[in-house]
């Protein structure tokens, strides 16, 4: 079980192109394997390609070159919107630094939205969303809009949204970056529960404090994997 591979990247390249056609390479041949149920932190300096790597894994970016195996299947060449949207909807859950909630919708509607895209009936997605909000202590805030919630509460709503379709993989981009230390701690506690439930977590962070919750830290520099550091929980 523990040895099953969730994600495998082989020689992955990703470049951006400026308006004048100039190529800006960001990922320069990433080789990476992430096991099912593993909690991985990606660290590295700004501009090192952390977020781009996460976006490539999250199927938000097509690769420039290389292979991307998800559950053993090479999806690096998939261009079909329907398939990519399906993967983002059912297989992955995204958590952002700035929460990225819909300000017009209540917490409940925000959480239920991916289930709407998945085609779940209204009653079922509302029940699921309520249960998730309850599990993070926000049962009484279901009808509140994001602007009526604190940063920590908003991030918990965003986590619920990422979880509603029971994804196998959680992708988080600086999930504590906009939070105070207490809220950040609460969020990381929720993250450690993901591992217990067997979910794979890939988290971008630049804070060692946060990274220490992970099983493994991957350091990126200049678009390449600098080192992979397997941590032992007991060391902390």
């Amino acid at each position: 079980m523990a040895s099953e591979i969730a994600i495998k990247l082989e020689k992955v390249f990703k470049s951006y192109y400026l308006a004048n056609g100039e190529e800006i390479p960001v990922l320069k041949g990433i080789d990476l394997e992430i096991k099912k149920g593993e909690f991985v932190a990606i660290m590295g300096e700004s501009g090192g390609g952390k977020t781009t790597l996460l976006n490539v894994i999250g199927c938000l970016h097509p690769l420039s070159r290389g292979k991307y195996f998800l559950d053993g299947e090479n999806i690096g060449t998939v261009k079909d919107d329907f398939t990519l949207a399906f993967i983002r909807n059912k297989k992955m859950g995204f958590i952002f630094q700035q929460f990225n909630l819909f300000s017009r919708f209540s917490a409940l509607k925000n959480v239920a939205l991916p289930a709407l895209y998945a085609g779940l009936p209204a009653a079922e997605r509302e029940a699921k969303a309520r249960a998730l909000l309850k599990s993070v202590g926000l049962a009484d805030r279901a009808q509140h809009k994001p602007t009526e919630l604190s940063g920590g509460q908003q991030q918990r709503v965003a986590i619920c949204r990422a979880l509603i379709n029971n994804p196998e993989i959680i992708l988080a981009d600086e999930p504590t970056g906009a939070l105070d230390s207490k809220s950040g701690l609460e969020v990381m506690e929720i993250f450690t529960n993901f591992k217990k439930q067997g979910q794979t977590v890939i988290m971008v962070t630049h804070t060692a404090e946060v990274a220490k919750y992970a099983d493994r830290i991957i350091y990126l520099r200049d678009g390449q994997v600098l080192s992979e550091n397997y941590q032992l929980k007991s060391a902390y």
């Binding site: 919107d81 983002r88 990225n100 017009r104 991916p114 895209y117 998945a118």
Partner: protein
């Protein structure tokens, strides 16, 4: 979801709907004006058979020219080729009173043939006879509205003495209610008297003369017209250089001309409605582009959490369709509400029809789909990462 988005920007939503509202109201107006014009043409000519030819005075463009056309010219026209009948009428307004009731009615001086040629029915008494015409008798046949205005239910109008322009006249007949016009005469509101009487003592020279004739076959209309022209020019002693002092109109070309002008009016208004809807569509497209630009980040989020292109396309398309549909409904309500108001003030002849609202509403939905599609399509094609980065 689409409703919530629209409600969040109420003023903008309302303003962008305004074009559609006006457009649909215009479409409804167009159809009721068109229908109204058609109905008024129909009612004007309902009692005109296809083989009638009307002769009316033509006063020309000069100050000095005047028409010599008289109701009695009808008699001469009986000798024209292909004419089977001719009746002369002179028409004008006069005060009519009975007991203490005093009202203004259309007074029509005719000969004994008029009632038959015009397909009118006598409900009580008799029509005018040749003796009445020859003797310039003070006798009248009155329309149904005149009867109900001047007489109570118990009073018998037959034999009653009414006063027309100061002259006492005996009512010898009552016409059956018609509800429409014959040529330019509203028969229900008419007092019909011998044309000789009308020309001599009631209307004098201020009456409008009209001669109604029937041609034996529609195919002979042209030959009859030529013959009428020759007879009247000779009678009026017109020089070759002078224009006709009369106009000849045959039923077919009158109906065609009236229908043509009704059609032209409808076409013109349809063009206005189409332009209004086009402009309102561009307005909606503009608003949708602004909305898409404002919500770029949301589109990025939606894609990141699994929204398909089709989901995003349908959400924005739905918004523009709701926008135009609600606008269409309001326009429909306004348009329908305006019809009785316009009719009340008698500004233009209108008829409410179902075609207008249905076409207006369908077009508003089509405008929403057509002009909403491109912005929605652009939204669905946004790159998720670029969209997420926007603020």
């Amino acid at each position: 979801m689409a409703f919530e988005s629209l409600l969040a920007k109420k003023t903008r939503t309302l303003l962008s709907m305004l074009g559609i509202i006006i457009g649909v109201a215009t479409v409804i107006a167009v159809f009721s004006v068109g229908q109204g014009a058609q109905e008024s043409v129909n009612s004007q000519f309902r009692n005109l058979s296809a083989n009638s030819i009307l002769v009316m005075p033509n006063r020309g463009r000069g100050f000095t020219s005047s028409s010599k056309l008289k109701a009695s010219d009808a008699k001469l026209l009986l000798s024209a080729e292909h004419l089977s009948s001719a009746t002369g009428a002179v028409q004008g307004n006069a005060a009519v009173s009975f007991n203490s009731i005093d009202k203004n009615y259309e007074v029509v001086g005719v000969d004994q043939n008029f009632i038959i040629i015009s397909n009118l029915t006598i409900s009580q008494g008799r029509g005018l006879e040749s003796e009445d015409v020859d003797r310039k008798a003070n006798r009248a046949v009155i329309g149904a509205t005149v009867v109900s205005d001047l007489f109570t239910a118990e009073q018998n109008p037959l034999g009653a003495e009414i006063t027309v322009a100061g002259k006492k006249m005996e009512v010898v007949g009552v016409l059956k209610k018609l509800g429409s016009r014959v040529g330019m005469i509203s028969v229900d509101e008419a007092v019909i008297i011998p044309n000789t009487t009308a020309e001599k003592s009631i209307l004098g020279s201020r009456g409008q003369v009209m001669i109604a004739t029937t041609v034996d076959s529609v195919d002979n209309t042209k030959a009859a017209t030529t013959s009428i022209t020759a007879i009247l020019r000779a009678e009026h002693k017109l020089k070759v250089s002078q224009e006709d002092d009369f106009r000849i109109m045959d039923a077919g070309s009158m109906v065609a001309a009236a229908q043509e002008s009704a059609k032209t009016m409808t076409a013109l208004l349809t063009a206005i409605a189409a332009i209004t809807l086009l402009v309102s569509g561009i307005g909606i497209m503009n608003v949708m582009f602004v909305t898409v630009a404002e919500r770029t980040k949301e589109i990025g989020i939606a894609k990141a959490i699994g929204g398909k292109r089709a989901d995003i396309l349908s959400q924005f398309l739905l918004e523009s369709v709701i926008l135009s549909m609600v606008g269409g409904l309001i326009g429909m309500a306004l348009g329908q509400a305006a019809i009785p108001i316009i009719s009340y003030f008698n500004l233009i002849s209108l008829a409410s029809s179902w075609t207008g609202p249905i076409i207006g509403f369908s077009f508003s939905v089509l405008v929403g789909i057509f002009f909403g599609f491109y912005p929605a399509f652009k939204a669905s094609r946004l790159d998720p990462v670029d969209a997420l980065r926007s603020e």
